[in-house]
């Protein structure tokens, strides 16, 4: 049975287990129809031209975990930014782990999607925000159809989240192959501020395929910082759909650090629905082996006087493949838009591949839009300069690569996170020297 058929039939069972009075009951049944009609994307879809899911779809996945696993914090500590105080929302094989988590309802809501969907006090919010931003297309719809668990963050008007929030998805390998579909909803109302770190981590060599959807709503003057750390095992694949709606004067920035995983696809879509908005999309990708990382971004400028800044850096070694498909759409009404997009890549080995497709679609005349894309190598003369000053070649290369990625790192506002990523980069490029910032 193909994965699609399996999902469709298991949805019938899933549907029966649900409360028909749930605010999202109908949304789910509509969504499964969309998925049934569209199926999984193939290379024939323009947006999936360079990424094939075939190898993933062949596996026999368990759609729900049969056994509940418990983990000790000390065993998974390394996957947390543990040296600062944070709220944690942790899932093990898709199931919320209250033992590892620390949630709150004081002033702000940091809890699970499951409780938000089922508790009457959240009903109104869920009705207003759930599945309103995510585009109705196959993978989003599939996630919506099975939406049950994930992180729920609600920052009411005028509040600032006092601690960063970590969302960690762990998979234990209890099943031979696991298909996970977390669903996150982040609502930052007017004049709010929040920082979120998201991570998916597999703990065994069993296959994991995650199709995650995150909806982020940023109200007027809201300030949302979202960091995605993708450093999973080679057996784990991830499709991350993040859909963001912004209102007047809000600033949302998403940093994606892709170092691990088998096939990683990031769909990151911004919709600007107000004036003076700033959208920031940044990413560093360093991969090797047969890894495949695909960044598919969209910034939809709908209203005037807004800005967007995209900066994606990639270093590709061995037989890895990098894809960047960035799209900026400027609607007719979106005058005075300032959109900037840049994608720089370094190929380390001969069999590495880069496919880059930076696109602009512009319908307004009074705009400043530019994009740049480069593919090249480390500067030989810079390398020579460092070597001539007594820095070994390997370290010199590492320094240059670090400098290359630094424009993205420099805007990370959590020092502990920055340090962590710096270490990961150093490890990835195979040097032990610590970079101090």
């Amino acid at each position: 049975m193909s994965l699609k058929d399996k999902l469709l039939s298991s949805h019938i069972v899933f549907q029966e287990s649900l409360d028909p009075d749930s605010p999202i009951y109908d949304v789910r049944s509509e969504a499964i129809k969309t998925f049934e009609a569209e199926g999984f994307p193939t290379k024939r879809d323009e947006n999936w031209k360079y990424t094939s899911l075939n190898s993933l779809l062949k596996k026999e996945y368990s759609i729900r975990t049969k056994t509940e696993s418990a983990l000790d914090f000390k065993d998974v500590k390394q996957y947390f930014i543990h040296d600062i105080d944070t709220y944690n929302i942790v899932f093990i094989d898709g199931v919320f782990s209250s033992y590892l988590s620390s949630t709150t309802h004081e002033g702000i809501d940091v809890c699970t999607m499951n409780s938000a969907i089922n508790k009457p006090k959240y009903k109104q919010i869920i009705e207003v925000y759930f599945n309103k931003i995510a585009k109705d297309e196959s993978l989003n719809a599939l996630n919506t159809a099975f939406a049950k668990e994930g992180a729920y963050v609600y920052i009411p008007k005028g509040k600032v989240a006092d601690k960063p929030i970590q969302i960690v998805h762990l998979s234990t390998g209890a099943e031979e192959a696991m298909f996970l579909q977390p669903r996150n909803l982040i609502i930052a109302e007017e004049n709010t501020e929040v920082q979120i770190i998201e991570r998916h981590q597999s703990l065994s060599s069993n296959a994991v395929f995650t199709n995650s959807v995150t909806e982020i709503y940023a109200g007027k003057h809201a300030n949302v910082d979202y960091y995605k750390i993708q450093n999973d095992r080679l057996e784990a694949s991830l499709i991350d759909n993040t859909e963001i709606e912004q209102h007047d004067n809000s600033v949302v920035s998403v940093h994606t650090f892709s170092f691990g995983g088998d096939i990683v696809r990031n769909n990151l879509n911004f919709y600007q629905k107000g004036e003076h908005i700033d959208s920031i999309l940044k990413g560093v990708t360093i991969i090797e082996g047969k890894q495949h990382v695909d960044h598919n971004t969209l910034v939809h400028h709908i209203t005037p006087n807004c800005e967007s800044h995209q900066d994606y850096k990639g270093i590709f070694a061995e037989k890895s493949t990098g894809v960047f498909n960035g799209k900026v759409v400027v609607e007719k009404e979106a005058q005075k838009t300032n959109a900037y997009q840049s994608n720089n890549n370094i190929l380390i080995d001969d069999q590495a591949t880069i496919n880059s497709k930076p696109q602009l679609e512009i319908f307004a005349d009074d705009v400043r839009c530019s994009h740049g894309c480069t593919i090249g190598q480390l500067d030989e003369s810079a390398l020579f300069y460092l070597q001539s000053r007594g820095i070994a070649k390997k370290e010199a290369r590492a320094l240059l690569m670090y400098a290359f990625a630094n424009t993205v790192l420099s805007s990370v506002r959590l020092p502990q996170l920055k340090q962590r990523i710096t270490k990961q980069i150093a490890k990835k490029i195979g040097v032990s020297i610590g970079f101090e910032i």
Partner: protein, 481 residues
């Protein structure tokens, strides 16, 4: 030639049963529709050898199985391929020795279009192979070229007189099944130009062809084949103007360039097909496949100025097969009113040390849509490949659109690729600066547009550059509020 029109008429009459259709010879236009019989009849009419007929039929069979592409960023009413006449020729079919013999009415049309044959002959030193509704009616300067061993003639003539060259190279760059329109063209191409430059010869003049669509309801399917043998050089000019028409006309041409070792081909186009009126009615559909292949140390340079057509779909490409080969693409695409253009290039790097440059300037005004779509592909064997792309768009008014769709695929670590695109409008400060110095706004715009396009205009041969500059001005007339 022994084979006369009468023979043909006779033959078609006798074949009538076999093919099941009727042709009115006097009108010289085939009945509408497309089937194997029409393909055969075209081939017959052109007095082509059997291998050519088979080649066309093969293309036709592929075409039948293909679907019209929909990926381009253009919207138009799909042509009904069974409602087009696939062959039309001016009534007089004899070859003329001098201009006096040419139908005066035809000459009058040329004059209206502002091209004086004799003037061009004298002043520009350009040999003009005029294609008037598909049949080559006048070729000049042939003798001069013949002295150097250069073959410059219509493709139908080449099929008859140089079959070995045509057979070897036709379809070698654009195979019959390449794409929907290339297949259609391969099946039904009526005429076009053929050019062969022998080893080590530098073509002494700019070769030029003028294509025109003149008869209502007939699509034009040109086929151009340019072969530059080892160490040769040729500059080829192609210019198009079309008189006003109310119904949509289809133009699906194929241009194949072959640059052998150390050869250089410069191919320049000024395209000004009828773009439709200001309400977007009428206009030519221009679906063109242009591609060149470069062997070792060869160079192909495409320069184009696109101002016409209701819908343009055109990607002059270079396959950099040989080591050290160079591909260039310089383009200005201007769209106004309801025009839609989806144009760009493909640079496929296969050989080592290959270089490509892409400079594309798009100007959109009125309610038009202008897209750049390009591919830069570095294969794994293309060590030290180098590409530089620059795509700038200029928007005039807020009802038009400018789009950029670059595809960059690199599979070699030594590749160096730079892509840069900007979109902006003419700055008020720029206009103000000009106004301040006594240049009115309309002139200022012309000046700025000219500056914006300079990089590309500079690449055009002198006499073309002047014409192109004028075209830009005319195309954008009244588009400034």
């Amino acid at each position: 030639m022994a084979y006369t029109e009468d023979d043909l008429r006779e033959e078609l009459k006798t074949k009538e049963y076999e093919y099941g259709f009727f042709t009115d010879i006097d009108s010289e236009t085939f009945p509408v529709g497309l089937n194997e019989d029409i393909v055969r009849a075209i081939s017959k009419k052109k007095e082509e050898p059997e291998w050519m007929t088979q080649w066309r039929l093969e293309a036709f069979r592929h075409w039948e199985k293909m679907e019209e592409p929909e990926w381009a960023n253009v919207h138009y009413e799909k042509p009904d391929f069974q409602n087009i006449s696939y062959y039309s020729a001016p009534k007089k079919k004899d070859k003329y020795q001098s201009l006096d013999e040419v139908d005066p009415e035809l000459l009058e049309t040329f004059k209206k279009l502002g091209i004086s044959l004799d003037e061009q002959k004298k002043l520009a030193g350009v040999a003009v192979d005029i294609v008037m509704d598909s049949v080559s009616v006048a070729t000049t300067f042939k003798d001069t070229l013949a002295e150097k061993g250069i073959i410059f003639c219509s493709i139908s003539e080449a099929i008859k007189e140089h079959p070995e060259l045509v057979r070897k190279y036709l379809g070698s760059v654009i195979p019959q099944r390449d794409n929907f329109y290339a297949a259609l063209n391969s099946a039904v191409f009526s005429d076009g130009s053929f050019c062969y430059i022998p080893k080590g010869v530098r073509c002494p003049m700019e070769l030029s062809t003028y294509f025109r669509i003149n008869q209502g309801g007939t699509g034009q399917f040109e086929r151009t084949l340019v072969i530059a043998d080892k160490g040769s050089y040729v500059s080829y000019l192609e210019g198009c103007t079309a008189p006003s028409r109310d119904e949509n006309q289809l133009h699906a041409a194929c241009v194949e360039l072959i640059a052998l070792d150390d050869a250089e081909i410069k191919y320049s186009t000024v395209q000004n097909w009828y773009p439709g009126n200001s309400e977007g009615k009428g206009g030519v559909y221009n679906f063109v496949t242009k591609r060149g292949i470069c062997e070792n140390n060869a160079k192909i340079s495409w320069t184009q100025v696109e101002t016409g057509s209701a819908v343009t779909w055109k990607y002059p490409s270079c396959i950099l097969k040989g080591d050290n080969s160079i591909g260039e693409f310089y383009s200005i695409a201007v769209t106004n009113n309801f025009q839609q253009a989806d144009t760009g290039t493909k640079m496929v790097h296969i050989g080592k040390n290959t270089k490509s440059t892409i400079i594309s300037k798009g100007i959109s005004a009125g309610k038009s849509q202008n897209s750049y779509r390009g591919l830069v592909k570095i294969n794994s064997g293309a060590a030290n490949a180098r590409n530089f792309s620059q795509c700038d768009s200029l928007l005039m008014g807020n009802e038009c659109g400018a789009h950029t769709f670059p595809y960059i695929e690199a599979k070699n670590k030594t590749a160096q690729i730079e892509h840069e695109a900007t979109t902006s409008k003419i700055g008020e400060d720029q206009i103000f600066y000009c106004n301040q110095r006594g240049i009115d706004t309309e002139k200022a715009i012309a000046l700025i547009v000219n500056g914006f396009s300079k990089e590309v205009l500079n690449k055009l041969p002198m006499e073309f550059a002047v014409e192109a500059q004028k075209l830009l001005e005319i195309s954008l007339e009244g588009s400034v509020g």
